[in-house]
Point group: D2
Chain length 336, copies 4
C-alpha cells in the first residue's frame, strides 16, 4: 500500500500516523520529492482499511498494491481448487455442465428435462425453486415444494442439484441440496455470505450485475473467511449500455480470475444474453477461453416456460450445443 | 403492450395466442403490413409477463407501452405522497434533512453529532448500526447495540432516526426505529421487500448501483403491493466508467421520478461522490432540482471515523452547507 | 414503427399527422384503447426521423420495429459479404488474421515482425502510422513515412496492409493501402465516413468505446450509402465499470452482428484487454464464437515498443496462439 | 509516479531501467519489502509514457500520482480562466447562457429564436450548421449557408455565436465564428484538436459520451499545448445503462473540474436528457452546483424542428427557466 502525503503536511501528525502503522506491524519506506512525499507500507495490508487512511488530514491519496483478499488469492494458494458437487468434480481440468429449467414447474416438466440433459452429457441439474423476479406480480417460484421436486429428480436421474437461495430464513430447506447458488442480486448480501461461510456446503457465487472482479472475489472471501472453501464463481453478464443482449458477457473474466484466484469459474450464457440463439456461440467461446464449466437453461417447451422462456434451449438444441462444446474442449486440450 | 409477430407466422398458433390474451381481459388490435403484423394489447397489462410472450414461436418482439408498476405510478395517484417519519414530514413540499455519522461508534460520538446536526437544522438522525462492507475484515458495525445508542440519541435530541436493515432476521431489532433503510445492495432483495410490505413502518429505499429507475420503482411496488405505502426513494449514485467520484450522482432521477411517481425522492451526495468536498455543491444541485430532501454523513472527527471518513462533513461544514441549502430552497420557492 | 398517442389528443392535429405520414407512402393502422391510442406505421420507415415524430404535441412515445439501416441489413442481403483485401478474403467462411506492431517504428522493426507473423500464418499486416494518443506529449506515430515503411514491408513479404486513418486530409497517403482502418474514436466522424463511402477502398470500421451495435451498423451504413460496400466490422472492447482489463470485450457482438448484418466481423483482443497474457484466451473465444478473423498486436521486443507494449505478443507467443486458433477453427468446422 | 517491481526481478535490468529514468531527470526512491519492491519517481512525470514502463519484464504495475496534464491543471494556474467570447465573459464568476436552435433552418427561424433568447437574457447564440447525425438518411444541416445565417443573426442581434465544427476541411468557414464547438463525438479527434491549438479562436470542448474527466482534460491539453488557452469545457451527459433519459448528466463533473482545472465549465441539459421538460430542473441544478454557464436548445416551434425537437424549449419556456436560474444564482452568490 502506498500513501501519498499532502504538500506541507504537519510533521507531528505524520509521526502519529507512523506510530499507528507500526503498531499494525507494517514497515514504512519514505520517499521525499519536491512536490510530494510518498510512504510505501510493507507487510500484511489486507486488513488495513484504506478509507481510514484516506480520511487523514495529511493524506492526499492511497493506492493499494496488493490484493485485499487472501483466501481466494492464487498467490497464497497456487493450485486450482477442485470442488466436489455430489460426486461431480468442478475445476482443475474438470469441466462441469449444469443444465435444467429456469424454474421448477412440475414433476413431469423437471424429470423430462433432467433425463434429457443427462442424456446429452450434463452432470449437474439446475432448477429454480425460489425465483427473484423484478415484478411482484410475476411468478415467484414453487419455493419449498420446488426443492422437493429437485430432490426427487436427483433420485430418478442420479444428477446432483444446484438451486438458488434468496434468504437466510430458507436455509433449512437447502440441507440436501448439493450446491447452493447465490444469485447476482445477492452477491453482496453479506449476512447471507457469512452464514454460508459457516456451512461446508459448496456455494455457486454469481457475479453481481455491476460488480467488479475484485468485489466478486471479496464476496468469495466472505464465504471462505468463515471456513467454507468450496466456492465456485459464475459469470453471467454485466450491465452495460448495450441493449442488443440483456447483459454483456464478460468473457475476459475467465483469464483474469484464473490469474488472480484458484477458484473454479463457470459461465452462464443464458442469463448473459437472454436470447436462446446466442447461447451456443457464447458457450463455445467460454469453453475455448478456459472456463471450468457452463450453466445452461433448458426447457422441454420454452414457449410455455413460466419464466425466462426466450433464453431457454430445447433439449435438441442443448444436445447439439454439447456436441460442439466437446469438440472445442477436445481441440483445446490437444492444442494447449 | 405491443406484440410484433414474425413474418409467415402460423395462423393457428396466433389464434391460440389471441384466446389466451382475451382470457386475460385484454382487447387486441391487429395491424397487418407487408413485412410485419403488429398486435396492440389494450387493458391492464401490468400483470402480463412480457417474457412469456417473447418466448412464443410466432413472436419477434414485445414492446411495453404502459409502466409495469401501479401503486407507485403517478398516473393512478396524482397527488404527492407525504411520509410521516416520527413527526417529520417528507415530500409534497416538505424538505427533509437526514444527517449523522456513517457508523454509530459510541454514545459520546453519536450524541455529539446528533446535537450538532439538530442545531444546524437536520430533522432526522441517521447512523449505521449494521454495516455492509466490501471486505469481511473491515468493521461490520455495532449491530443491535448500535440501534440501542440510536434510540438513546433520539430520547436526548428528539430527532426521529433512520438506520439500515441488512437481513430479515434482524427485523425485531428495528421495532422502534422510525424509518428503515434498505441499502443499495439490497434494493432487489425481494424477500426483504415483501416482508417490509407487510409492516406499516416507513421504508427508505436506496437505488441499486446499476438499477434503472424502472427497476427501482418496481422494488417500491414490491413493498407497496404488500400494503405499505410509506416508501421514500433515495438516489445515491450509480456505477459508471468515471472514477473521479466513487459513483455518479444521477441528478436527472429527480425530475424523472417526480413525473413517473408520487413518492418522495431524496438525494445522498455523500455516498454518490465519496468525497467530502463535493458534498455541498451536489446538495445544492439536489435542492435546486426539486429533491424532497438530503441524506448527509456528518462526523465529529472524520479523520477518526471507523467507516467512510473521506466523505463525512464536520459539524461546521454541515452547518455551512445547511445555510446555503436554505438559500437555494428559498430562491426556488420564490421563483417557481 | 409504432406511435403511441397522448390521451385526449387533438383530433385535428392527428389528421394533419396522418396526412404527413401518408405523403411519405406509409400505411397507418390505428388501435384505440381506453387509456391510449396506438398507430402502427407500415412501409419503408428507415428514412423516417423518430425525433421529428416524438416532438409532436399529440405523441407520447415512438417505438421502432424495424432496423434503421438497410444496406448493412441481412434481411435485405441474406448472403455473407466476402471482402477482398489485396487478395486475402475475409468473411463467408474465410478467417483472416491481421497482425503486426501497434506502431511502425523503423524498417527493421516492421520487416522483422512482418516476416514473423507471416511465418506463423497471418495473412494481413497491421501497423500504425498515424497514432491517436490520449496525451499530446506521447509518441504520435511516424505518419506518412510510416505508410512508406508499410508499403515496403508489403513488397518484401507479399502481405496486404491495414493502417488507420485519423483525418480526411491524409486520404491521399492511403492510396496504396489495402484496407483503411477507421479507429474507435472516429466511428462517428461522419464526414470521414461519407468520404470513404465515395471511395471503393475496403474499410475496417472499429466499434466506438460506447457505441451500441445499432450505432455501429449505422456508421457502416454511412459508408455503404455512398456506394462502398467493402466494410469489415471490428469489435475491440467497450467501456464499462470493470478496471481489471482496459476495456470489456463484447464477445456477444459476434452472433448479434451475424444475425443482423451480412458484413464480416473480426475481433481485436489486444485493445480489448490491454494485457498480453489475456490475448490468447480471448482470441480462442472469438474463433469459437464464429468471428471472421482477428487483429493482433505483435512486437519483436514489447518491452521497447513505443506504444502499447503491455498488450503486444512476441512472435513466439503469436505463433503459439495461431496453433491453438487453428485447432479451435478445425473443431468448429467439424462440429457445426 | 510509482512503479511496483515483480518479485525476483532481474537486478541488471533494474539497473538499466534506473539509468533510463535518471536520463529523464527523474529521482528514484526505492522501498524494498518482503513481497515487493516499490520505486517512487519524483520530478516532471507528465511526459513519461506509463505504457512503456508497464511493458517492462521487471514491472508488475505502474500507478500515477500526479496528473498527466499541465496547461489545464489548476496546480500550475491557480486563477480561474475567463474566456472572452466576442465580448461575453465566461468563467471566473461570469455566468454565460448560450441558447438557440439545435439546427439552423432558415433566416426567419433563426432570427426569431435569436431575438427571443436575447430578450430572455441569453448572451451567446447557438445554432448547428454542420450536424452530426447517427443516420445518413437524416437531415445533415445547412452547412456553410447555415454559418452565413448565424453571422447575419449576429449582425441583427449583436449576440456572439457558437457553432460546431465537424471536420478540419471546413475550418475556413469558421473564420468569423466567435466560439468553435468541438462535439462529443470529436472530443478525441486529435488532428482537429491540434489544429485548433494553432488558432487563437476560443473553443468549446464537449465531453465525449464515454470519456473520463481525465481524458477530457487531456483533450483540452491538446488544444492548449498548441498555444490556444481559450478553452471552455461543456458537460452534456455521459452514456450509462439508464434509459429514462438519453444520457446521464454528470453534475459532479462541475466541482471535480473546478478543483482540477482553471478552465470554465458549462452544462448542456438539453442533450444530457433529450427531454424538454427535464431541462429546467437540470439547469437549476447546474447553476446551484457552480457551473459557469448553460447551453440550451430553444426553438420557436419544437414540433416542427428538423432535429432534436423533443428536447427543445419554446421561447416562453426558456424565459421562465431564465427567471429561475437568476434566482438560484442570486441565492448562491448571497449564501457562499
Amino acid at each position: 500500500m502506498i500513501v501519498i502525503l499532502k504538500q506541507n503536511h504537519d510533521r507531528q501528525k505524520l509521526e502519529e500516523f507512523r506510530r499507528w502503522l507500526e503498531a499494525q506491524s507494517l514497515m514504512i519506506h519514505e520517499s521525499v520529492g519536491m512536490h510530494s512525499t510518498i510512504l510505501g507500507l510493507v507487510g500484511d495490508t489486507s486488513r488495513v482499511d484504506e478509507s481510514l487512511i484516506e480520511a487523514l488530514d495529511i493524506v492526499e491519496a492511497v493506492r493499494r498494491v496488493s490484493e485485499p483478499y487472501k483466501m481466494a488469492n492464487r498467490k497464497f494458494h497456487p493450485l486450482d481448487t477442485v470442488a466436489d458437487i455430489g460426486g461431480a468434480a468442478v475445476g482443475g481440468g474438470h469441466f462441469a455442465v449444469m443444465a435444467g429449467p429456469c424454474s421448477v414447474e412440475s414433476h413431469d416438466q423437471l424429470c423430462c428435462v433432467a433425463e434429457a440433459v443427462k442424456a446429452a452429457g450434463a452432470n449437474i441439474l439446475r432448477g429454480g425453486a425460489f425465483k427473484p423476479r423484478t415484478s411482484p406480480y410475476a411468478f415467484q417460484g414453487m419455493r419449498e415444494s420446488g426443492i422437493e421436486l429437485l430432490l426427487e429428480a436427483r433420485r430418478v436421474t442420479g444428477l446432483p442439484i444446484v438451486t438458488e437461495i434468496m434468504d437466510l430464513q430458507h436455509l433449512d430447506s437447502f440441507a440436501d441440496v448439493d450446491l447452493i447458488q447465490v444469485g447476482a442480486r445477492n452477491m453482496q448480501n453479506f449476512e447471507l455470505l457469512k452464514e454460508l461461510g459457516h456451512s461446508r456446503k459448496p456455494v455457486l457465487l454469481k457475479r453481481g450485475l455491476s460488480s467488479t472482479i475484485q468485489e466478486w472475489l471479496m464476496s468469495a472471501e466472505y464465504i471462505m473467511a468463515g471456513g467454507n472453501e468450496n466456492v465456485i464463481l459464475c459469470e453471467r453478464g454485466i450491465r452495460t449500455f448495450e441493449t442488443a443482449t440483456r447483459n454483456t458477457l464478460d468473457v475476459s473474466a475467465i483469464p483474469v480470475i484464473k490469474e488472480l484466484s484458484h477458484l473454479p469459474v463457470i459461465i452462464d450464457p443464458s442469463h448473459a444474453t437472454g436470447v436462446a440463439r446466442y447461447v451456443k456461440p457464447l458457450a463455445l467461446a467460454a469453453a475455448a477461453a478456459g472456463a471450468d464449466g457452463l450453466m445452461i437453461e433448458v426447457h422441454n417447451d420454452p414457449a410455455k416456460a413460466m419464466c425466462d422462456g426466450p433464453q431457454s434451449l430445447t433439449p435438441a438444441q442443448f444436445s447439439d450445443m454439447m456436441g460442439s462444446v466437446s469438440a472445442i474442449l477436445g481441440a483445446r486440450e490437444q492444442a494447449l
